[in-house]
């Protein structure tokens, strides 16, 4: 039963990154990961942490308590949600006084945080529960003609004392999962830097400069696509790529794929099934490469 999870969609995915959800569900199903829907939803709390830490703790704890009631662990698509739920779980398990305070709030909706539900991001489930071997075996069309770069983002790994997954200074999980599809994963400068998304709305200029900096280095490395595992990072690079190109009078033309889309292609699914039509940056060049390479 270890491969059965409560899927926590978060806010950004249903709001505007459905291609991630569509491809993730298809891939997980094929790999035997069973997903159960959340009985009800509230935001993980992260967006409000800057203005009210207490609100964040309550919102996150409420979700954890709902999962505990279902007797299931949580799988998230968004690293922000995963990081928040993991962090709050750690904090409240350790700090009994704080737990008492938060449970005082949860009592209002007949819930209690006990600390029995774990949270994993999809990448962690793929690595730890499904395993590289099984993923490699599921590949029917190895993407050997493709050279890509990865952007793992911040919240899957940091702050390391609370998250405890992979190495934030030299993350390997996404690279290994990319290479399991047969594609080559290239290194580039500033690989572990932030995409800029959290600064949107406060200073769009700084946010877009951060994203641009990454695109410059990804292009310089000669990558044919950039692989992300976060809805916010994806919006920064895909939805905003044209805006960045216009703002800085440059062209990058780098397709941004969600990891499940890349894996799905290798598993023999079609671009249509994997919602490639929802991506903003043109992917025809890499798809042509694949169809020619695959024969």
């Amino acid at each position: 039963m270890s491969n059965k999870y409560l899927i926590f969609l978060g806010c950004a995915v249903p709001y505007r990154v459905s291609s991630y959800e569509i491809s993730a569900r298809k891939v997980l199903q094929k790999l035997g990961v069973e997903l159960v829907e959340m009985p009800e939803f509230n935001c993980c709390g992260l967006p409000l942490d800057p203005v009210s830490h207490e609100t964040m703790l309550i919102l996150a704890a409420r979700n954890l308590a709902l999962a505990e009631q279902q007797n299931l662990n949580i799988l998230t698509l968004c690293p922000g949600c995963a990081g928040t739920l993991k962090k709050v779980n750690t904090i409240l398990k350790k700090d009994k006084t704080l737990r008492g305070q938060i449970n005082g709030h949860l009592k209002e909706s007949a819930l209690e945080f006990k600390g029995t539900a774990e949270t994993k991001h999809i990448l962690q489930v793929l690595m730890e529960d499904v395993g590289l071997e099984k993923i490699k075996k599921s590949v029917v069309k190895p993407l050997t003609m493709l050279e890509v770069a990865e952007h793992v983002g911040c919240h899957l790994l940091r702050p390391k004392d609370y998250i405890g997954f992979d190495d934030p200074e030299d993350p390997q999980t996404l690279k290994k999962l990319i290479e399991a599809t047969g594609a080559k994963c290239l290194d580039y400068i500033n690989e572990t830097e932030c995409c800029g998304a959290p600064s949107v709305g406060v200073s769009d200029k700084v946010a877009l400069q951060l994203a641009q900096d990454k695109l410059i280095h990804v292009k310089m490395a000669g990558a044919q696509a950039l692989i992300t595992i976060c809805p916010f990072c994806h919006v920064m690079f895909d939805t905003n790529e044209l805006r960045i190109e216009r703002m800085f009078s440059e062209t990058y033309g780098i397709p941004i794929l969600h990891y499940p889309q890349l894996l799905g292609l290798a598993m023999g699914m079609t671009p249509e099934e994997l919602a490639f039509n929802e991506l903003r940056v043109d992917t025809s060049r890499i798809l042509k490469l694949l169809s020619e390479g695959i024969n």
């Binding site: 950004a12 459905s18 009800e40 509230n42 967006p47 009210s52 830490h53 309550i58 932030c194």
Partner: protein, 178 residues
Amino acid sequence: MAATNKEPIKASEIDPTFKYELLRMPGGEKLLRCFQCGTCTSDCPVARFSDTYRPRTIIRMAQLGLKDRVLNSDTLWLCAACFTCTDRCPQGVEVASVIRLLRNLAAEKGIAPVVFKEQAACILDSGYAYKIPELRIKKRATQGLPPLPKGNPKNIRMVLKGVNFLGDIKKEGEQNEQ
């Protein structure tokens, strides 16, 4: 150079108790360990592209007790919360958490960018941090996706009863309805 203004510091501006206030808050415990080495600023992705945002300066202002100055500083809101500073601080200061504490204190005084208030209002209304268009929710069926889990606004308001920041949002929401 950094920070919001370069006005000379007046003794009357300094609140010597401010640092103790921060030390008692979760995440602020190690504030006084900072010896201003600058690892946080030199590794900060935002500082690379901002002329004003410098985490080291913010920490120093907090240590010195320049409460009003730091809480009113626009740059406080530029932190992307990537936690690179926290992970790399040689003294174990949770730099990003100290910045979060300062933001929380600013928000209690009503100083916060409007984007946070909008998101809070959305969460109280629907459970989601964004207003998800009806069209998107309906489209899910044709995309082969299960129905979107519903929020429980009534319950969310109940569990958040008594939280400072949200009191303001509710009041503002009520005003809008009038």
